[in-house]
């Protein structure tokens, strides 16, 4: 009698025990805690070999978390839910973070490789004293056209992209400030005058443009173009350079009316747990061979002159990474509470309200 009843319990329980056991063994074999830094960076920007190389050289493990817009980064950083050691804000966001006292000053004496950086990328308006940041990569926002579907000659400005003919065939970066700046530029307004009056002027433009867009993607806007889901797009220059490199059917166009230039930087936020490790990471990515690796994976404009010497002529000739001639490019500046209005306006139109 007892024998007949017993098996059903242990056998069933064993299934669960087995699973739990496997998990515990797998998890326990993860080893002792090592020194680590938490890096919060743009997605498709930090190659894994750069991280692995840093860990191999210093013994410091890197927890990389990615974001797809400055605003997303701010939302997570300022909530205080996670403490980061290194963040990667763009110019205007550096300005805002520094103003709010959210960054730690950088000790340049611990970053000897800062000397590799071109003077063109130092002491820029968002960090005139070079106190808060080191430059990561520069770039611009431009237009990529699939020349087998759209005549590249017909596209000279943002307004040429957002036409009824291209409805449902457009990809754009998912970034409210960007989208608003294209509309401002099209209306002939300064892209850094963001207030209720200027937004009211561009709202009708945005209401016309945004419904034409098929894909909003800041992580990897090149994908929709490569997969043939769209014919043209407004993307970061690094993504554009990758497309040009991948297939000659793609063309890079900087709008004649001007566009946005950015410098993405590395900074150490207040509350960092391992500022020492953060400084070592900052110096690591400025090493010429490491920086060249970053350029090879994500061909933005490299501010590191020593690294540029290591790049192939083909890479240096990519017009998206290193635009020939003078283009009319302008930085974003921090616009204070204007940013709130931008968020709300674009969110409203995107949602269709």
């Amino acid at each position: 009698m007892r024998r007949a009843r017993r098996p059903r319990v242990p056998v069933l329980a064993r299934v669960a025990a087995l699973l739990v056991g496997t998990a515990l063994v797998a998890a326990c074999s993860r080893g002792a805690p090592a020194p680590e830094i938490a890096v919060f960076a743009w997605s498709e920007y930090v190659p894994s070999e750069v991280i692995d190389g840093f860990t191999a050289a210093t013994g410091i493990r890197v927890n990389l978390e990615t974001f797809a817009s400055n605003e997303e980064m701010l939302a997570k950083l300022l909530s205080g839910a996670t403490r980061y050691d290194v963040v990667q804000p763009s110019d205007y966001t550096v300005e805002a973070l520094a103003r709010e006292g959210r960054l730690q000053p950088i000790d340049a004496s611990r970053i000897p490789n800062l000397g590799n950086v071109s003077p063109d990328f130092l002491h820029l308006p968002f960090d005139p004293g070079q106190r808060w940041t080191i430059p990561w990569m520069g770039g611009a926002v431009g237009i990529v056209v699939d020349s087998t579907k759209v005549d590249p000659g017909s596209i000279r400005s943002f307004a040429d992209v957002f036409t009824e003919a291209h409805r449902g065939r457009i990809v754009v970066v998912d970034d409210p400030r960007e989208i608003v700046s294209w509309a401002l530029a099209t209306e002939g307004l300064p892209i850094n005058d963001v207030d209720e009056a200027s937004l009211a002027k561009v709202e009708p433009v945005l209401r016309r443009w945004i419904p034409l867009v098929r894909v909003f993607d800041s992580d990897s806007p090149k994908r929709a173009l490569l997969d043939g889901d769209v014919d043209l797009g407004v993307v970061w220059s690094g993504e554009g350079a990758l497309l040009l490199d991948e297939d000659p059917r793609f063309r890079w166009i900087l709008p004649a009316g001007g566009s946005h230039r950015f410098v993405d930087s590395l900074a150490i936020p207040v509350g960092a747990r391992n500022p020492e490790g953060a400084h070592r990471f900052l110096d690591w990515v400025l090493r010429p061979e490491v920086s060249a690796r970053i350029s090879a994976a994500y061909p933005y404009t490299n501010p590191n002159l020593a690294a540029r010497r290591l790049l192939s002529p083909r890479a240096l000739a990519n017009p998206a990474s290193y635009p020939p001639g003078e283009a009319k490019l302008e930085f974003f500046r921090d616009v204070g509470t204007g940013a709130v209005l931008v968020d709300q306006l674009v969110a409203r139109i995107k949602a269709g309200g």
């Binding site: 098996p7 319990v9 056998v11 069933l12 669960a16 996670t82 992580d219 090149k222």
Partner: protein, 261 residues
């Protein structure tokens, strides 16, 4: 039922199952395809498996997921089982309120659970990490354990336990010899359920995980957003195979233990 109707129903069912399995089959096929682009069949290869299993990020998040699921199971099963006995067997003030509160994470959309836990962790200054992920997983596993175990406790005839007590068994012995054998299978399947729920969860984890406690679904989500990654097909195929194995094992055990669920 007319033969025609029978055949129509069979065809409908076949179509439904085909629909369910079609993308999974495609995924498995791509995982062996010697092409990055996943458009044409270019030949058989195992290299994507080599890619996936030498990818530190994937492996780490897999380890994290197993760790989190194990803890979530270990914690939610006792809590949910205790709740099942208490709510089924006892009357006390605030019982309905306690029941509703415990079931809340099952009723509310995941995005609400995730954001509310994030708000709590931020308010009390608890930094996101393994503790926050595990706690949030326990939060949504407990109601499922509660419901699964409670049904079995309700089916238990208290007369049996009383008879054991009348025959001189201590309450502990009566519980162990009479109650536990009946309830244990339900507890075991609740444990399995918790493990799978936790292992698969994305939305709540999205709000409560940090980079170092990132689980496999979060990692996969990030990779899907970034685009083409043939290693994804390989790891997905492994996950499907593991699921198949667990379902088969559970079925086998169920059959051996005599058919009852």
């Amino acid at each position: 039922m007319t033969p025609f109707l029978r055949r129509a129903l069979a065809a409908w069912t076949a179509l439904v199952l085909l629909f369910l399995w079609f993308p999974i089959a495609i995924l498995v096929a791509w995982s062996f395809n010697d092409s990055r682009l996943n458009v044409l069949w270019k030949g058989f290869t195992l290299r994507w498996y080599a890619v996936a299993f030498s990818d530190a990020g994937l492996l780490r998040s897999l380890g994290n997921s197993l760790w989190v699921a194990a803890w979530a199971t270990l914690l939610s099963v006792p809590l949910g089982t205790a709740a099942a006995f208490l709510l089924e067997r006892h009357r006390f003030r605030g019982r309905d309120l306690l029941e509703t509160t415990l079931l809340l994470p099952m009723i509310a959309p995941e995005v609400v659970i995730g954001t509310s836990l994030l708000a709590l962790f931020v308010a009390v200054g608890l930094e996101l990490g393994f503790a926050t992920v595990i706690a949030s997983h326990v939060a949504f596993c407990v109601p499922f354990v509660l419901v699964a175990v409670r049904a079995r406790v309700a089916s238990l005839d208290p007369a049996l336990e009383e008879a054991a007590l009348d025959l001189g068994a201590t309450p502990a012995a009566a519980f162990r010899r009479v109650v536990l054998p009946v309830v244990a299978p339900a507890i075991a399947s609740a444990a399995l359920l918790s493990f799978m729920l936790s292992f698969d969860e994305l939305v709540v984890t999205w709000f409560t995980a940090s980079a170092s406690s990132r689980t496999l679904p979060i990692e996969i989500y990030g990779r899907i957003r970034r685009g083409l990654d043939p290693g994804l097909n390989a790891i997905s195929t492994v996950l499907v195979a593991a699921t198949l194995a667990v379902v088969a094992l559970a079925g086998l055990v169920r059959r051996r233990s005599g058919g009852s669920r």
